[in-house]
């Protein structure tokens, strides 16, 4: 039996008003996404993206993934968006918010995106039989522990993602070095 699955409902605490919160958070996320791609002002787009990121973190909490939700808030909303806001303020060209916002071939882009959406919808309707009816309830209390077991390994063996974890740290190091070198005035 997979230790990740907890057959008790909610792990001892019943979830409350799931439908209401799903529609609220999902609606907020999509509204935020719409605002990101349509706002003229880049700071408004950044603030809408923060709303989207926080709603998606809430959706993670509803999917019994508290650790991913915490990482999302710390890294995405608290780190990456601060970086975006800094850069927006550094490159704030006054004329950019008065120029044309959408490029010349925007109808083609819109058609391509709608085709993609139609593809997704047809995949969902045709493949509905693939999804099992029962929504499994993951054990929320030991979520961090189990993710740590997968990342770091347990009982002396390497976990399935230990190597990927080390490579990810190398990736971050390379990104730090790249960002520092690219923004230096004299290399």
């Amino acid at each position: 039996m997979n230790p990740a699955i907890n057959t008790a409902v909610g792990g001892g605490m019943a979830p409350v008003a799931t439908t209401f919160f799903f529609y609220l958070l999902g609606g907020l996320a999509i509204a935020g996404g719409l605002a990101v791609i349509t706002r003229r002002n880049a700071v408004h787009s950044a603030l809408s993206l923060i709303v989207t990121l926080l709603s998606v973190a809430g959706l993670y909490l509803m999917l019994y993934a508290p650790f991913v939700a915490g990482v999302q808030i710390i890294v995405y909303a608290g780190g990456i968006m601060v970086l975006f806001l800094f850069v927006i303020m550094l490159v704030n060209v006054e004329t950019s918010s008065k120029e044309r916002q959408f490029n010349r071939i925007w109808p083609i882009g819109l058609v391509a995106a709608c085709t993609l959406l139609a593809l997704f919808m047809s995949a969902f309707t045709k493949g509905k039989a693939l999804f099992p009816d029962r929504m499994v309830t993951l054990a929320e209390g030991s979520n961090t522990q189990q993710i740590a077991n997968m990342l770091y390994g347990e009982a002396g063996r390497m976990g399935p993602y230990t190597f990927a974890f080390e490579i990810a740290s190398l990736l971050l190091l390379v990104a730090i070095l790249g960002a520092v070198i690219m923004t230096k005035k004299k290399i």
Binding site: T18, F67, L138
Partner: protein, 102 residues
Amino acid sequence: MAPITTLHYLVVAAALFVLGVIGVLTRRNVVIVLMSIELILNAVNLNLVAFSRMWGNLHGQVFAIFIIVDAAAEAAAGLGILIAFFRNKETINVDEIDLLKW
């Protein structure tokens, strides 16, 4: 109302993905294009975590954590490129970043 199934989360993720694709394809401001890329990555993450719950193991969540780490690195690198380019050409329009065009 019907109980919330995995399909509901997948639909939200698909909507976010398509919104991100529209942003990447149609906007002229480079920072907003980068933010649309972040939207795409978030849609993929939501997909992964929803499937992780469906199957009952945590592989999806661990993969989502790696994608968040990757998005941080990519945002840093992308914004660094943007700042370096802005120093040269004083513009943040995608249309005008065409120095290598024939």
